[in-house]
């Protein structure tokens, strides 16, 4: 997909995820908007996986550690043909598989996640299996900056470098806000790049909304042979909707009809998918 098409695809995804959150009356709006460009590039440019190859042992794997932003994953998977987009009309409804955190009941989801600090250890195990089985698939996991104080992340970070898992790439969606406040005030994890380097990782820092930078960076892994890669993606919570950007109330705020209409207008509704 051409970069300009990817940029338009991000707008489409933003509209779609807002529409399903608005329809369901629930969802993690701000974080889904901050990570959607990352997911866009992963699924449209990087990952060697499709609905047809999802059961292949050699597929690339994506594990979403920040499971609460599942709406971003759902709209991308739907767009990639893993399931019909209309299925998402049942988001968070009684009996629906499309619940508020990733579940393997949904085609395309690798692991059940939602409790924070779980994605990286599972990604490490998956990457380790790739090395042991001599398969060349790659493993990607998306972490929120708010979940980095979970100690399991750092246990896994040690393990990843110990086993030289250069088939592993962690992406930190560093939007700087978590449910209880600015991440730097709640528990400062900076200097984050230095921390990962000291744990034996190769680090790149980029603008997590820059499609070109995301593409170029993720195409370049491993950044150093023999080392796991981490992309620290600087993002904006609520990105793309002016009144949601950097506003903590949109962590799991749900737009009312007026807010929804305004957001859709800002996102260019009517160009393609109107939700």
């Amino acid at each position: 997909m051409h970069p300009d098409q990817l940029i338009e695809r991000s707008a489409h995804y933003r509209r779609h995820l807002l529409s399903i959150i608005h329809h369901a009356g629930a969802g993690h709006t701000g974080g889904s908007l901050s990570c959607i460009d990352i997911l866009n590039v992963l699924y449209n440019r990087i990952l060697d996986v499709s609905p047809e190859t999802f059961s292949s042992v050699s597929r690339d794997r994506y594990i979403q550690s920040k499971g609460h932003c599942v709406e971003a994953l759902y709209v991308v998977l739907a767009d990639r043909g893993f399931f019909p987009a209309e299925d998402l009309d049942t988001l968070c409804r009684f009996g629906s598989h499309y619940i508020g955190h990733p579940t393997r009941k949904v085609h395309g989801v690798e692991q059940n996640t939602g409790a924070l600090g779980h994605g990286l250890p599972m990604a490490v195990g998956t990457a380790l299996a790739g090395k042991l089985d001599r398969r060349d698939y790659r493993v990607f996991t998306l972490l929120g900056d708010g979940e980095l104080p979970e100690g399991s992340n750092w246990e896994a970070a040690l393990t990843a470098s110990h086993y030289h898992l250069d088939n592993l790439c962690a992406i930190v969606d560093l939007n700087g806000l978590q449910i209880t406040g600015p991440t730097r005030e709640v528990c400062d994890t900076q200097p984050l790049a230095d921390k990962f380097r000291s744990f034996g990782w190769a680090v790149r820092e980029i603008d997590g909304h820059d499609i070109h930078a995301l593409t170029e960076t993720l195409e370049a892994i491993p950044f150093e042979p023999g080392k796991p890669s981490v992309v620290i993606a600087h993002t904006v919570k609520g990105k793309g909707v002016s009144f949601m950007e950097n506003n903590i109330k949109w962590h799991h705020g749900v737009p009312d009809a007026q807010q929804y209409a305004r957001a859709m207008e800002e996102l260019g509704a009517g160009n393609t998918f109107a939700g």
């Binding site: 692991q111 409790a115 599972m122």
Partner: protein, 262 residues
């Protein structure tokens, strides 16, 4: 993996999801407490076929104290869906349980002690081993003792001592705590004869309460007692000394059974 139990279980889940046979081994006290969320989510909820092996369970670590005792693990794990829980009573059950866990394709918790186990409690090879099917070690007609793990041996010795007093007991190694062999419980409780359960676990939430729950809900009213570690700061000493203090010995178990006859 190093001393990092949460990571151990998460990595094990990732490995298992790629088709590898994975045994995640750590002292039961740490594996089932520190990694409980990983067991619940990464293993059981995601149905990644990891075999969790809790070693030196119960009070195996004796004088090392409560940090190293695991008297909570069965209670905690029983409440987690999609996890088979197995506490073998001797070496033949252990070997069969390891094979069965490796082949079953779903999450399993194997709970082992520390000291050498009896080769075979019956003196014979296992004729069959299935998760969820208790093993009758000794058949009798005056009641039953249902035990697991390292308490099966003293339970058997108690039954042998009582046999000399003319009391004939069935002794079961209930190696699988979940799923529970309710058919066997049904059979053993049908005539209302006394039943004693014994385990190296808190009296709360383990084998005894699993059986009690079934009995109560099926209107089986019979003399019944749960033996295990009481809800208190556990005394310290060797495993055998702790067992002795709480009556988990052939004499103590025999005495407890006799109390059900009064």
């Amino acid at each position: 993996m190093g001393i990092a139990e949460q990571n151990l279980v998460g990595v094990a889940a990732g490995l298992a999801s790629c088709g590898r046979k994975v045994f995640a081994v750590s002292p039961a006290c740490f594996l089932t407490a520190r990694s409980l969320e990983q067991i619940k989510n990464d293993v059981a909820y995601s149905d990644n076929p990891v075999t969790l092996v809790g070693i030196s369970a119960g009070v195996s670590y004796g004088p090392l104290g409560s940090t190293h005792h695991s008297l909570h693990d069965l209670a905690a794990l029983r409440a987690i869906h999609n996890l088979t829980i197995v506490v073998p009573g001797d070496n033949v059950e252990t070997a069969a349980a390891v094979d069965a866990a490796a082949g079953c394709g779903h999450p399993v918790y194997l709970r082992f002690g520390k000291k050498p186990m009896p080769g075979s409690l019956t003196g014979a090879p296992l004729s069959e081993f299935t998760f969820g099917k208790g093993r009758i070690i000794r058949a009798g007609s005056d009641g039953s003792i249902i035990a697991n793990g390292e308490t099966v041996l003293p339970a058997l010795q108690a039954a042998e001592a009582l046999a000399e007093q003319g009391i004939s007991l069935t002794v079961v190694s209930m190696h699988t705590v979940k799923p529970l062999d309710t058919e066997l419980i049904d059979r053993l409780s049908a005539d209302g004869r006394p039943m004693l359960t014994v385990e190296e676990h808190s009296v709360h939430g383990g084998l005894g309460e699993a059986i009690a729950g079934w009995l109560m809900q099926h209107r089986r009213h019979l003399p019944f007692k749960i033996m295990g570690l009481p809800d208190e700061y556990t005394v310290t000493g060797s495993q055998l000394e702790i067992f002795g203090h709480y009556g988990i010995s052939s004499e103590g178990i025999a005495e407890a059974f006799l109390s059900l006859l009064v």
